[in-house]
Subunit: 209 residues, 2 copies
């Protein structure tokens, strides 16, 4: 498999073929790629909500400025970002490391202290921005994996965040919608698939030093 | 190639084998994956600085809180985020679309207006946050492609941004360092490679709706 060829074929789909659903097995592999994303300090300050039911997808339509992808996609993923990382969250994280790696909690004390001091240094706004950025690594991984699976995607930022949060019943004290990704198969009617990909030329994008 | 297996093998390397360099051809494929990253409105509000010279890499060491990766990596990539997207940038973008797709500029007027109005709605802080998030999609793509190429990576946020900006001679009015990525090959001495990967269990990371 030539991954660059797959990335070259990828584009942000404007209209999906509403009849074609992504199979559960393929969806789960893409989700696994999202799960394996790197995150700062390993904290994974996000969740991934997979909207699979037509009912929920339809409820979400009014929250998007451009509903064309939502009305036609097979699945919608909503990446939410944690609004603050409290002691309980960090405690759970360390118990989980300790269990997974069979390391006593005491041996993780130094790492724990470095995380605590890092988290305490950040303002609530910086913390949210940090969490959102980690969510975008997940977004990147999901799109990349989907491209390798020949599943089409469209990442979307054009939504009313509070509206999605309310429909998905998110607790605003704990989390908020960070970014969304529609998945499915491109419609033959989506003429954007025939357009040449536009990317900055190398000399504008890269600098060697 | 099983991409999930490759992602499973990936971890954030603490110490690289300083003797092993990433070949130029492989590096260029990874860069190409970065170039093919999706970005909001296609604007690619970032640049990728590839630090290949030992001299420049050494200059950057003091800017990092943990120098272990910088002192041993083969290449360092610095993703910078644009500090504002001015008319000139957008003009260039539209000329480039027009050239690449052979579409007269007039036909792109609607798209242009939607970008202008979107950019005008954002505060300088929101614009920077938006640009940085796009940079994190690039980070995700670079790490994913590197994993497929059996190249090891470590994404790093622990740096003094102003110090890097100054060493790289960035114009603070135009851009700033967003995030960095060390590339190379793991050292046999890096015992982190033997630890089990820790990820939230599925029921904490995913929700189906």
């Amino acid at each position: 498999m030539d991954y660059l060829e797959q990335l070259q074929k990828r584009y942000s789909v404007k209209k999906f073929d509403g009849e074609k659903k992504v199979q559960q097995e393929i969806l789960e592999r893409i989700m696994e790629a999202g799960k394996l994303s790197a995150s700062s300090l390993g904290l994974q300050p996000y969740e991934i909500i997979v909207v699979a039911s037509d009912e929920m997808r339809e409820k979400l339509i009014p929250a998007f400025y451009n509903p064309s992808q939502i009305t036609t996609c097979s699945h919608l993923m909503v990446i939410t970002a944690k609004n603050g990382i409290g002691d309980e969250y960090i405690n759970n994280y360390f118990s989980h490391i300790s269990d997974t790696r069979q390391i006593p909690l005491d041996n993780l004390e130094l790492f724990r202290k470095s995380i605590d001091s890092h988290m305490n240094r950040l303002s609530p706004e910086s913390l949210m921005s940090w969490a959102e950025k980690q969510g975008y690594i997940v977004l990147g991984n999901l799109m990349f994996a989907a491209a390798l699976e020949n599943v089409d995607t469209c990442p979307m930022e054009g939504f009313r965040q509070e509206v999605i949060d309310e429909i998905l019943n998110l607790d605003p004290k704990k989390e908020k919608t960070c970014v969304t990704l529609a998945l499915g198969y491109r419609s033959a009617e989506d003429h954007f698939q025939n357009l040449k990909k536009v990317r900055k030329p190398n000399d504008k994008l890269f600098k060697f030093m």
